[in-house]
């Protein structure tokens, strides 16, 4: 991978982000539905439930990214451009998710009308709140966690789901989608980190937001079994 060489602060930020990611990744082993998924004990109803719960966050995902973009002033117009293109790329992700749900035997009306679980409420509320602040550079931390999870879905979960179930058409297009362009996304994230991690305060803000998003995302997954 042709990575941009990061500044010293950028590198220290990336080291901390990696640590937050690995802590989060490990903590997912304690989430019951993820244990069942990774240990080959997922039922079809479980998978439908997982998609249904993810959809409510994904559909709101495009909103916080768009709002995040609009909160950057002219001093961050380059960051704004990157975030806008990111929002454009992903704002219709939820359609893939809905198609997977239907392909896995679910009813479209059901996934479209389901409410957010309480973890999703908290996650979405936090992301919209941060995105509404002026120049919300800390949301790079949120993108890091969500991008990391997208990659985990693509390289691990999708395979495990396809090992467990066989359908005529793919039920994992949403998860697989994240494998495409993955290298570009990483490069983009590295560049964003290099651009905004230019003070200790900014690094601390990015890490804090990454930690909060990781915690709330885990709560969202914990809640899949509770609704």
């Amino acid at each position: 991978m042709d990575n941009k060489v990061l500044s010293q602060l950028g590198q220290s930020c990336l080291q901390s982000l990696l640590t937050v990611w690995l802590d989060f990744d490990l903590s997912l082993n304690k989430v019951s539905i993820i244990q069942r998924l990774e240990q080959g004990r997922l039922s079809l109803e479980d998978y439908q439930e997982l998609l249904l719960n993810l959809r409510q966050q994904v559909i709101e995902g495009s909103r916080w990214i768009s709002r995040c973009a609009s909160s950057f002033d002219r001093h961050y117009s380059d960051v704004r451009s990157t975030v806008i293109s990111h929002a454009t790329e992903e704002h219709r992700d939820y359609l893939l998710l809905e198609a997977d749900y239907v392909a896995a035997g679910g009813q479209l009306e059901q996934i479209q009308s389901a409410p957010k679980n309480i973890g999703t409420e908290a996650l979405h509320g936090f992301l919209m709140y941060r995105a509404s602040q002026p120049n919300p550079i800390d949301l790079i931390g949120a993108m890091w966690i969500i991008e990391g999870l997208g990659n985990k879905m693509a390289v691990k979960w999708s395979k495990q789901i396809n090992d467990q179930f066989t359908f005529k058409q793919s039920v994992t297009t949403f998860m697989d989608y994240h494998a495409e362009n993955d290298e570009n996304h990483m490069k983009e994230l590295y560049q964003l980190i290099d651009r905004v991690a230019d003070s200790q305060q900014n690094v601390e803000d990015i890490i804090r937001t990454a930690k909060v998003v990781a915690k709330l995302y885990k709560m969202q997954l914990d809640e899949v079994d509770n609704d």
């Binding site: 991978m1 590198q11 220290s12 990336l14 640590t19 690995l22």
Partner: protein, 369 residues
């Protein structure tokens, strides 16, 4: 009190066995060549190893005898008389006897008197646990020295006859995997509270470990049959029944194996953040790791984050001496010291990940003298 590694030693039983000879020693399961063997060997890269059993699957030397030989080799490289040894700290994943502790049997083989004794039980990282206990013992001035020995004789678990006891007649991948990974051997280190009189010593700066058994399932085990959740080997009415059910086979849940990379890197980043280690100040890395992991994405990220250690600093003898479980890191350190012209001030970073239920141990050494 500073603590120094003043001598090292090792023992590898018999002649080196190459990949084509493995089944001559371990035996053919139901008389058939394994279909998995080459695939697993290609992935772990091991070319030679040693076994304490012969081609009739008879034990030529016991685990405690191997440990004692490594211990004697270590003492003979030092300035210390065996009678002056104050502590013996031993590690193995399975002694010859179920009880008493491995250390007792090794002490008897070594014939050293009235030592303070410690045995640590576990898998690959148990040697680091034994070392840490000895390090602390010398550090807090309870002992002036300590002999630390790690030894493994896993080949007894890999005899063809073990697999042929199964009721199901079918050896699954997870039960066969380690047959092509692990082999026998022992390594020893002598710790003292002062540097060696001549030549080089390694000052132990720190030893730390992070265990994740509460978060992750069992990944490498003996004692439970495939798809059994609660029942373990002693819960069967006879040991013969446990063996028939496959509860006595050494298993690796390969699906979980990737977690070892995550926890290894996570601990490393934690040590950097706590300022115990600075990646660009490390001169040598000795890691009990299969090289295929270095190609993974997370190592690319470490490089981008400025936390990678360049490839020429990594040393291993895994491919020539085999993966000897907990003994590996001591056998590696012994050969490393004897084949490198170390200079005072150079630093060595050691890392021992254990997949049993996910523990990773780290050590930082500085060359003195």
């Amino acid at each position: 009190m500073d603590v120094y590694i003043n001598s090292t030693g090792h023992y590898l039983p018999g002649k080196a066995i190459n990949n084509d000879e493995i089944e001559n020693v371990l035996g053919l399961i139901y008389g058939k060549k394994s279909r998995l063997k080459n695939k697993i060997l290609k992935s772990n890269g091991i070319l030679h190893r040693h076994y304490a059993i012969n081609d009739k699957q008879q034990t030529e030397i016991s685990n405690s005898q191997m440990a004692a030989k490594a211990g004697i080799n270590c003492i003979e490289n030092s300035y210390l008389s065996p009678s002056k040894i104050q502590m013996l700290s031993c590690a193995t994943s399975q002694g010859d006897m179920v009880l008493p502790g491995f250390g007792s049997m090794v002490q008897a083989e070594l014939d050293i008197s009235a030592v303070e004794l410690h045995t640590s039980h576990g898998i690959c990282s148990s040697s680091m646990m034994a070392l840490k206990t000895a390090f602390n013992n010398v550090r807090c001035q309870d002992s002036e020295n300590a002999l630390v020995i790690a030894s493994e004789l896993t080949s007894r678990l890999f005899k063809n006859s073990r697999y042929e006891q199964l009721d199901s007649n079918e050896v699954d991948f997870n039960a066969e995997f380690l047959r092509w990974m692990l082999s026998d051997g022992a390594g020893a280190l002598l710790l003292e509270n002062k540097p060696r009189a001549t030549g080089k010593s390694l000052k132990i700066d720190w030893i730390k470990s992070f265990s994740h058994a509460n978060t992750l399932p069992v990944c490498m085990s003996v004692g439970q049959a495939k798809s059994e959740c609660n029942k373990t080997w002693q819960d069967y009415s006879s040991y013969a029944e446990a063996e028939k059910a496959g509860a006595l086979l050494l298993r690796q849940d390969v699906r979980l194996l990737d977690n070892i990379v995550s926890i290894g890197v996570q601990g490393f980043l934690k040590l950097i953040a706590q300022e115990h280690v600075t990646p660009n100040k490390i001169d040598h890395v000795l890691c009990h790791f299969s090289s295929k992991y270095f190609k993974s994405k997370i190592f690319d990220m470490l490089e981008t984050a400025g936390a990678a250690i360049s490839e020429e600093k990594w040393y291993t003898n895994l491919y020539q001496r085999g993966n000897t479980g907990c003994a590996s890191i001591f056998i590696m350190l012994d050969e490393f010291i004897n084949t490198h012209n170390l200079k005072a001030g150079e630093t060595i970073f050691c890392m021992v990940p254990e997949s049993g239920r996910f523990n990773c141990a780290y050590m930082h050494l500085t060359v003195v003298g």
